[in-house]
């Protein structure tokens, strides 16, 4: 990468000339704008940014960004993005995907990209429904949820994206409500800074097919009481009054009230996102009340491209082959006169 100073961009530099065609009121607009605002803060050059998506409403995203991009095929963005990044590690590569795209058809690729830890960023638009195909249940839909393909209620138990991701060795996992643009912008910036695969799950409202699916936790009125926004190094405190907190009771997280039953601020767990052991992160991911948002895990580890580069340098240094010719003429060759 050239080290010339990066031009100062505004969000307008990242908006393409294409008309955005999501349903009015869809959270996808919020995510798009948050990204357009985050990018100028990242210090990356516009030409070095690549968005790769699969298929679904969310996957139309790259068309709306004035960067390099590819709207690819259903579920395969992780493979394509991995190829982009391995071919040119200087690029800032983003995967845009939905719950169906990432966890149904692309499930295999989703777990493997996390396992490998290539320096990519994944934004998972989770609306617990298939939007583009008009409302079938997805792998995150709830049991009993009535959809076009489950008129009597869904019988397939759901994945929790965070649990699945941590099980697949995700080093960075964050969760954020689709109606929280400021925090979202900040998370995108953090994800870009993080060296390794980062995954951000956005709880995205689909106004058409699953309206209000997260409203119990994301509505302005209840948000502070129902969510805990985690920050590394800070105590796990939440609530309108900032008086609720999390402690560890045996093998379970427990909600306590500061000032009740002798609980003081000192008793509250301090969030360590950078801990290698994912046990507590798993517990936080599973917690239903309060719902954990913010960066839950952020453990920096060797990336795949670092491993590959080191190996390549070592092989190159020890190799007697400099050009293909030296390989072709090596070993058992013979002359015909």
């Amino acid at each position: 990468m050239e080290t010339t100073a990066v031009k100062k961009y505004t969000f307008k530099d990242f908006a393409s000339d294409q008309e955005v065609r999501w349903c009015p009121g869809c959270d996808d607009y919020v995510i798009l704008r948050a990204m357009q605002k985050a990018l100028p803060e990242m210090g990356v050059k516009k030409e070095d940014v690549v968005f790769i998506s699969g298929i679904g409403c969310s996957s139309r995203f790259p068309y709306y960004m004035n960067t390099y991009g590819m709207h690819s095929i259903h579920g395969r963005a992780p493979g394509i993005a991995s190829g982009v990044k391995l071919a040119n590690p200087d690029l800032s590569v983003w995967i845009i995907t939905g719950d169906g795209d990432a966890m149904a058809i692309g499930g295999n690729h989703f777990i493997h990209v996390l396992r490998r830890n290539i320096d990519l960023n994944i934004i998972l638009f989770n609306n617990e429904i298939y939007g583009l195909t008009k409302g079938q249940f997805s792998p995150t839909s709830l049991v009993g949820q009535k959809t076009k393909s489950s008129p009597y209620g869904n019988t397939q138990p759901p994945f929790s994206p965070g649990e699945l991701a941590l099980g697949a060795q995700a080093r960075f996992f964050a969760r954020i409500g689709g109606n929280t643009p400021k925090d979202m912008t900040q998370l995108f910036i953090e994800a870009e800074k993080f060296k390794g695969t980062s995954l951000i799950e956005v709880l995205q409202n689909c106004v058409i097919f699953n309206d209000g699916c997260f409203k119990n936790v994301t509505d302005k009125a209840v948000k502070e009481d129902k969510q805990i926004y985690l920050e590394h190094g800070k105590p796990m405190i939440f609530g309108k009054e900032k008086n609720k907190g999390l402690i560890l009771n045996g093998l379970k997280l427990e909600v306590v009230t500061i000032g009740e039953n002798g609980i003081t601020q000192e008793d509250i767990l301090v969030h360590n996102a950078k801990e290698q052991d994912p046990t507590l992160h798993q517990m936080l991911v599973r917690l239903e009340y309060p719902l954990a948002t913010g960066i839950i895990r952020s453990y920096e580890d060797v990336t795949l491209e670092e491993r590959e580069n080191a190996l390549t340098a070592q092989v190159k240094a020890n190799s007697k082959f400099k050009k293909t010719e030296s390989l072709f003429f090596s070993g058992d060759t013979y002359e015909v006169k």
């Binding site: 030409e47 590819m70 493979g79 295999n108 050009k323 060759t333």
Partner: protein, 619 residues
């Protein structure tokens, strides 16, 4: 019984000979065969080899399905196939004899290890009686040698050698005998031992001893009345090596990457018989090769598409079922018009079919196995050595025409080996690419080259060329999503026209043996050697009216195909499938009547069956 001959008889000179080594999968038959063929190649013979091993990794010892074989055809004349019927069979056990006897020419020689013909081994090979005793081998010259005991005897003075190493080296006894019979020096093999077992002097000594013991045993044995020699072949001067098709394919890509100045990216998932291309390319990190073993075929091709988008020479390798999985992504690559090479080393199908056997039945899948109007370039290599050229050519066409190219090879040429006159990158034609480095006035991602119709290749990281591609139909110029009906029709046609125009950049079809005549033998891909040698033999017998046309370019077909066809009266299209290429010809050249010769046994064509068929058509 063994008598020392005092005067060495003069070896009888032969033009060519076909030898097959067979034994249990643990008997080292592949090594034995390779040593013999390498020695013969270095002596100056033309050669063709074919290994044939069981699909099971470790089949039970002595079982019929655990037989491993290696066939080698050497000659002072041009050799184009490993041959079908053999002049000499070396069978290390009853199972090997039983499964390969049918291939021995009557009156010809079989060498057996009598020590292996035990009651137990005979039972495992489902023999009721010992074939060495019941007269059933009357029509052959059987040389019975107690190889295991003679090996033991030869090694009795080497201290501390374990039993396993002793039994293992009996294949070298057989090799020694064959070296004497065909007047070959053992030195290439002893050099090989010295290199391979550098740190194990005992193993070097043991193998060398057994090899020589076999050699001298044959020399002094009355049972082998004479030795033969095959003079060096007339081959173009130069430096040669023996190369396997899969290695040649991998190396063709290395050369193309070097010539084009791009880095090579391979995204792949293991499948027989394509895996060796992956095995070869992962070794070459020193050339900057990025080889990515993905979680499945879909991720394999997807990663290659990503790498191509980012400016690498991207390839993906697979075999039939893998190509089926890659179909959707291949359609995407075609739609977004990026360079990409997909190698399909064909095997017997459908489904998992016959994984270790050869077939040509993925042709229609390569041409049409995708949704929508989805033309791609399809080319096929035809010999182990020319896999190098066609891999190179596939990369060149993909880069110059901005399109996916399917390169078809098959198990037969991919595993077979032959001499390759080494080519350097300087020997290969130039490769242009369509990368653009800065925006021109009015730049659009779908601007096309007037000649090739290739679009320009704008790579992430280039300022001013930011753009989006995708699988949705796109406007003919801007590349933005467009569902305008006329635009879709236009784009469908221009994508087809782009592939059609490749005709202007590929060689004309040529016929061999006759330019006009009564019969044109038509083939494509890996059957070249079999068809060529059959037509050649007929030509030598006086059938001067039979021509041979072999296709390496299938989509598009060479420009002069119709003209070539119009010079012959009858046609026979020979394929290892149920008639796929003949369908293609019928669609394109409906005024001709195409006869078919199809074999669907997982086996290559035999010489005799072709010759009989061709004779019927010209009588």
């Amino acid at each position: 019984m063994i008598k020392t001959t005092t005067t060495k008889p003069k070896p009888e000179v032969l033009e060519a000979v076909i030898i097959r080594f067979v034994g249990d999968s643990g008997d080292g038959m592949q090594l034995t065969g390779t040593q013999f063929s390498d020695t013969s190649a270095m002596f100056g013979n033309d050669i063709a080899t074919f290994p044939n091993y069981p699909a099971e990794i470790r089949a039970p010892q002595g079982s019929l399905y655990g037989v491993s074989g290696f066939q080698v055809h050497i000659g002072s004349v041009e050799i184009s196939t490993p041959g079908d019927k053999v002049d000499l069979l070396v069978a290390m056990n009853p199972a090997g004899l039983k499964t390969n006897l049918h291939a021995v020419k009557p009156g010809h020689t079989i060498i057996v290890d009598t020590d292996a013909f035990t009651k137990k081994n005979l039972e495992k090979a489902l023999y009721d009686k010992n074939p060495l005793e019941d007269g059933s081998l009357e029509n052959y010259r059987v040389i019975q040698v107690a190889m295991s005991s003679l090996t033991k005897e030869a090694l009795k003075d080497i201290k501390g050698l374990d039993n396993k190493s002793i039994t293992r080296s009996k294949n070298m006894f057989a090799l020694g005998m064959v070296y004497w019979m065909y007047h070959r020096s053992v030195s290439h093999t002893t050099d090989f031992f010295n290199k391979k077992f550098k740190s194990k002097p005992q193993i070097i000594e043991a193998n060398t001893k057994v090899l020589n013991a076999g050699y001298y045993f044959a020399e002094t044995l009355e049972l082998i009345p004479n030795s033969y020699t095959i003079s060096p072949a007339k081959m173009a001067p130069g430096t040669y090596r023996i190369i396997m098709g899969n290695t040649a394919t991998a190396w063709g890509f290395l050369a193309a990457a070097e010539k084009s100045g791009l880095e090579l990216f391979l995204g792949s998932y293991p499948i027989t018989p394509a895996t060796d291309i992956l095995h070869e390319l992962v070794k070459h990190k020193h050339f900057g090769v990025k080889a990515f073993q993905a979680e499945d075929e879909i991720a394999g091709i997807s990663s290659a598409i990503g790498a191509s988008f980012a400016g690498d020479l991207a390839i993906t390798t697979t075999s039939g079922p893998g190509l089926a999985l890659k179909g959707e992504a291949l359609g995407l690559a075609m739609m977004i018009e990026l360079p990409l090479v997909i190698v399909n080393v064909q095997r017997g199908g459908p489904s998992t079919g016959l994984p270790t056997k050869t077939e040509q039945s993925d042709l229609l899948q390569a041409l049409y196995g995708r949704n929508g109007e989805s033309p791609v370039i399809v080319i096929a290599a035809s010999t182990p050595a020319n896999c190098f050229n066609y891999a190179y050519q596939a990369a060149k066409l993909a880069l110059e025409h901005m399109t996916p190219v399917v390169l078809l090879t098959d198990g037969y040429i991919a595993n077979g080996s032959a001499p390759w006159k080494i080519k350097t990158v300087d020997d290969m034609p130039a490769i242009k690419n369509n990368i653009i480095n800065k925006p021109t006035e009015n730049w659009h991602p779908y601007n096309r080259d007037e000649g090739t119709l290739a679009r320009n290749w704008a790579i992430p990281g280039t300022p001013g060329l930011e753009h989006r591609v995708g699988g949705l139909e796109k406007d003919k110029i801007s590349g933005n999503v467009s569902y305008v009906p006329e635009n879709h029709e236009y784009m469908t046609k221009i994508r087809a026209e782009k592939v059609k125009r490749v005709q202007n950049y590929i060689p004309y079809l040529e016929t061999e043996f006759a330019e006009t005549g009564d019969l044109l033998v038509i083939g494509w891909g890996g059957t070249y050697g079999s068809l060529y040698s059959a037509v050649k033999q007929l030509n030598e017998e006086g059938y001067k009216n039979i021509g041979f046309a072999h296709f390496n370019y299938i989509n598009p077909l060479p420009k002069n195909t119709e003209e070539i066809l119009s010079k012959f009266k009858k046609f026979i299209v020979c394929e290892l499938n149920n008639g796929q290429f003949s369908k293609v010809l019928k669609i394109n050249f409906s005024r001709f009547e195409f006869n078919q010769f199809n074999k669907i046994q997982g086996l290559p064509f035999g010489n005799q069956e072709l010759i009989e068929k061709f004779k019927q058509l010209v009588k």
